[in-house]
Symmetry: C3
Subunit: 154 residues, 3 copies
């Protein structure tokens, strides 16, 4: 039996990947009280595009929106691994979004909307979050977006 949120993902045609294992001495999530901390997620999903590139230089906004969406999918994959059931999410409290940017790029919010819109599509009001969106000089592996998250859970 799957829960309401997983049924919604299925309706949207989204299959959660296996939660990515960290490549070093850190963990992908920590559950502390009713807060679930999720490590910065890259937009890499097995079998998917690699979403590398710098906004304002070598990747389009529309493609980077898909990258942000992939980060959000990986956040949900980590939440599933942490919680067992995504219905335990009561609120996405906060996203921290880092966009790989050329110095003159200014449309970071549009890029990050790829993650924000997806989370609201899946979780409804529980998916509405606070966030920051900034442009960084470089990201691991050269990906275009990295997003970490804090969730309230029950």
């Amino acid at each position: 039996m799957t829960g309401v949120i997983e049924a919604r993902l299925k309706d949207l045609g989204v299959e959660l990947p296996d939660a990515a294992a960290p490549a070093a001495n850190y963990v992908p999530f920590h559950l502390s009280g009713n807060q679930l901390f999720v490590s910065g997620q890259l937009p890499l999903i097995a079998g998917g595009p690699d979403f590398k590139g710098k906004l304002g230089a070598d990747i389009e906004i529309e493609t980077a929106q898909q990258a942000a969406r992939a980060c959000a999918i990986n956040i949900l994959a980590q939440a599933k691994a942490a919680l067992g059931d995504l219905d335990r999410i009561t609120q996405i409290l906060r996203l921290g979004a880092f966009v790989n940017s050329a110095p003159d790029f200014t449309d970071h919010p549009k890029v990050v909307n790829g993650a924000s819109d997806f989370l609201v599509e899946v979780l409804g009001d529980k998916g509405r979050h606070t966030r920051f969106a900034v442009g960084v000089a470089a990201l691991p592996l050269g990906v275009s977006v990295e997003i970490d998250a804090l969730l309230a859970v029950e």
Copy 2:
């Protein structure tokens, strides 16, 4: 009737702007238990300067300090919208400060002091916060500073 903190703002000649509505599928704040999360605020206040530019290239530190102060004013405007009464703030726990920087700029703390000094001026010890201050490659709309916040409230 206004509270102690709003009277203090009035003494300082600061009028809180209307809390800016987010331009996308996210929210400007979340109240979770006794923690108030505030989305990254830009230094844009209706009728004010636009505070665009990159430190070390096309904006002076003194101007960017005013930009950081404007971010802090917008954080308080969001807190007012969330709490009704700013006297419910028990502590500014944390600021995350992103400064739009040329690669050789190194005076980020001075810039962010524009926000830190203002919050202590208004809130006293309750305004003293932890923070990070870093230099990013680019920011939304080309502004010079973006700051998010976490507040303890009652």
Copy 3:
């Protein structure tokens, strides 16, 4: 009498420096409920190297790993000042790691491992944390790494 964690530091030959005082109107830490927030720490320890430079341009990964380790040492120094006894740490919940990067640098996780490995070496499973690792355009004083932290404590 020193606790278990301080004995472990001694075994490793690590002496905690005096907790650095902030240079402005902010505080190095806040204890709120069972959460300890630690301000962004630079890799500066009195008598040590200055760890300045930009990855991909003028500092090697191995040196920057030592810088990340120095940030982690300073985080523990702040925790000691906040808690009195490092044995009160129940979990390092989260590190936010900013690496001073040339635009084409992509090995941020390797750099930040210098902090992650150290914290696990000292604290065992209590040292395993969530984290993000991103490449920023510039950092205060030109240092190569800045890391902030959130700890669960008792």
